[in-house]
């Protein structure tokens, strides 16, 4: 019989969850041969045709040949979840899970950084995708976040662990549009370097692993956002401001 309850937080893996990869995907004999043959045909056609389409065909053909000869499927691997993600998805009954993690070192005291983070109403200042955070009580808050294609996601979250100066963990309500859970940890950095801030988010990607890849390109994927948010956190805490290059436009503006 399966246990009806499961822990509300993920065990800390030694390897950061966001850095784990899915296993290599070796191809079967038949598929390898097929890949080389198809690639050869495509490359040949591409060379003969020339022009932009010819180049595209030629390059695709070359990729297929390499794939067949090496026996590995790198694209397929990139689109698969890591074993940790598969395991967490099973535990929670999610269709799939994406784990993203990141770390920055900030030259400020641990308590100061924890205190800033613990007051969730501070977070929109460093999280560009967060439209609003409403702090309901000590453990409950309502979040509104911009997702891919400008669609807003809202959910309620509750704090599941709160160790002052060290760790804050949360989880979203079961009926959140995008179910998520995560933690942020504050640890003394070696010697005098300040504080290591580590964060992890585990979420259920709305369009599965493929959708996740697309979202990454659009910069709306939580892992990409987390990187940017932690960079802003460091800039604000150390330098006192988040720098902008006005009046010149930004790269994306």
């Amino acid at each position: 019989m399966e246990s009806p309850t499961y822990p509300e937080e993920i065990d800390n893996p030694t390897v950061p969850a966001g850095a784990q990869r899915s296993p290599r995907q070796p191809l079967g004999e038949a598929e390898r041969i097929l890949s080389v043959v198809a690639g050869g045909l495509l490359a040949g056609l591409g060379v003969r045709r020339g022009g932009a389409l010819g180049w595209a065909a030629g390059l695709t053909g070359a990729v297929l040949i390499t794939r067949g000869l090496s026996g590995m499927a790198p694209v397929r691997r990139a689109l698969r979840a890591s074993p940790l993600e598969d395991q967490e998805a099973r535990r929670r009954g999610w269709k799939s899970a994406a784990a993203v993690s990141w770390a920055v070192t900030i030259d400020r005291p641990r308590q100061e950084l924890y205190a800033f983070w613990r007051d969730f109403s501070n977070l929109p200042a460093i999280m560009e995708n967060v439209e609003n955070v409403e702090v309901i009580d000590e453990t409950h808050s309502a979040w509104s976040v911009k997702g891919p294609a400008g669609v807003s996601f809202t959910w309620n979250a509750r704090v599941t662990e709160d160790i002052p100066g060290q760790r804050i963990a949360w989880t979203s309500d079961e009926n959140a549009r995008v179910r998520n859970t995560g933690w942020v940890e504050f640890r003394d950095a070696p010697h005098d370097r300040g504080t290591e801030v580590r964060a992890l988010i585990l979420y259920e990607p709305p369009a599965g692993q493929a959708g996740r890849a697309v979202a990454k390109l659009l910069h709306r994927e939580p892992g990409v956002q987390m990187r940017r948010d932690l960079r802003r956190f460091k800039q604000l805490m150390e330098a006192g401001e988040i720098p902008v290059n006005q009046p010149q436009r930004s790269v994306n503006g």
């Binding site: 070192t105 940017r228 150390e238 436009r249």
Partner: protein, 390 residues
């Protein structure tokens, strides 16, 4: 205000742009009194640097008068005359605190930092007027400029010293000096310097200040070689001389103790490797042309030091790593930590040890800046430093 604006490859124009304004509490606005065109501006002009956008204001060597201050800037007042390092540094991160100002964690903007960390692993500091990957900040070849983190960025200069004597504290003098320091000069050392542009010229003079016994320079522009000779360097024209053989003999068969690269990614010369580099660059198989670097690695004495000042941005191909490894070479490099050198070098100028204005070959009004770029790119024998006055 009038400003020098980048529009594309070999297309810069002086146009009217909006005046900068205070955006963040640590900002300052300067009225620019003098500004110069840098050799690395030519990489922008030649279209080598990615993430430029039409409408970007160029210029990272500038100085001027403070006209407006953000609320948090306590160490400056309106009316102060300041020089500004070309590197933008927050002053409070691990790198700034340890004197590695061009490695500041926090000055790059988020979009630029994303690109730079993807390309390089971690982002270096932002620079003025040098692509969006490095912050996208407007540069100072303009009438006014916004200086972020001004309390870390600006150094006041005494009224007694005219602009021309102190302007080059912003970039090329510290750059040449740091590259010279990176040679780890010991008594009796001979240092070979590739490149007699402004950075090379300051490197030569800095090397003698730091106690080098002999300095040998390599270039092909006769007037630039003569300028280096005026400081006491021995000169080699690579169009006329086999550089590796000459260096070996001139150093009694040992090779130079240190080699300094003041050339960077757009090396000249019609040697097979350089032609291959140009072909590869055209096909986008490699981005930088390290011809000088290859020579330096082969020329350097065993156990010697390679000091790299001249900018690289992307990927190198066919660099003789085997030579470097088997000879036990040390490589030192990086964008200049300008803030580290501002006061010591200002003191040298005040003492009369050096008058940096020797490097100026042309003075133009800002409105003629486009001509200045064209001239600098085309006539390198005659043009060393173009100073613009808004």
């Amino acid at each position: 205000m009038r400003a020098l604006v980048w529009h594309g490859k070999k297309d810069v124009r002086v146009e009217t742009m909006p005046d900068p304004r205070i955006v963040k509490p640590r900002d300052a606005i300067l009225k620019v009194t003098s500004t110069a065109i840098c050799g690395s501006d030519l990489h922008l002009y030649d279209g080598y640097i990615p993430t430029m956008k039409a409408g970007d204001i160029l210029g990272h060597e500038f100085m001027g008068e403070v006209v407006e201050l953000g609320a948090e800037v306590k160490n400056l007042k309106v009316g102060d005359r300041v020089v500004v390092p070309f590197t933008i540094s927050c002053g409070r991160c691990f790198f700034c605190k340890n004197d590695f100002w061009s490695l500041c964690d926090n000055s790059n903007t988020e979009d630029g930092a994303e690109i730079a960390s993807t390309l390089y692993g971690y982002t270096p500091s932002a620079l003025f007027g040098y692509s969006h990957m490095l912050g996208g900040y407007a540069g100072g070849q303009a009438e006014y400029v916004r200086v972020p983190f001004a309390d870390t960025g600006c150094m006041t200069v005494p009224d007694g010293l005219p602009d021309e004597k102190v302007l080059f504290l912003t970039d090329i003098f510290p750059t040449g000096y740091m590259a010279a320091e990176n040679c780890d000069v010991k008594p009796g050392d001979t240092v070979a310097v590739w490149g007699c542009g402004p950075v090379g010229q300051f490197a030569v003079r800095s090397l003698f200040m730091l106690g080098a016994e002999r300095v040998i320079v390599i270039d092909h522009h006769p007037r630039r070689l003569a300028m280096a000779a005026a400081a006491g360097a021995e000169t080699l024209n690579f169009e006329e001389t086999n550089v590796l053989d000459a260096l070996r003999e001139m150093t009694g068969g040992r090779g130079p103790d240190a080699c300094l690269d003041a050339v960077g990614m757009e090396a000249h010369g019609l040697t097979p490797d350089n032609i291959m580099d140009r072909a590869k660059a055209a096909l986008m198989l490699a981005t930088d042309r390290p011809h000088a670097l290859r020579q330096m690695i082969l020329a350097c004495r065993k156990g010697g030091t390679i000091s790299i000042a001249g900018v690289y941005g992307g990927m190198l191909d066919k660099v003789p790593m085997g030579a470097a490894f088997n000879k036990g070479l040390t490589f030192k490099m990086g964008q200049t930590h300008v803030q580290r050198y501002l006061r010591p070098l200002l003191t040298r100028i005040e003492n009369g040890d050096i008058d940096p204005s020797f490097i100026i070959s042309h003075r133009l009004p800002l409105d003629a800046a486009a001509d200045g770029y064209a001239m600098f790119a085309e006539r390198q024998n005659d043009v060393t430093k173009v100073v613009l006055t808004p």
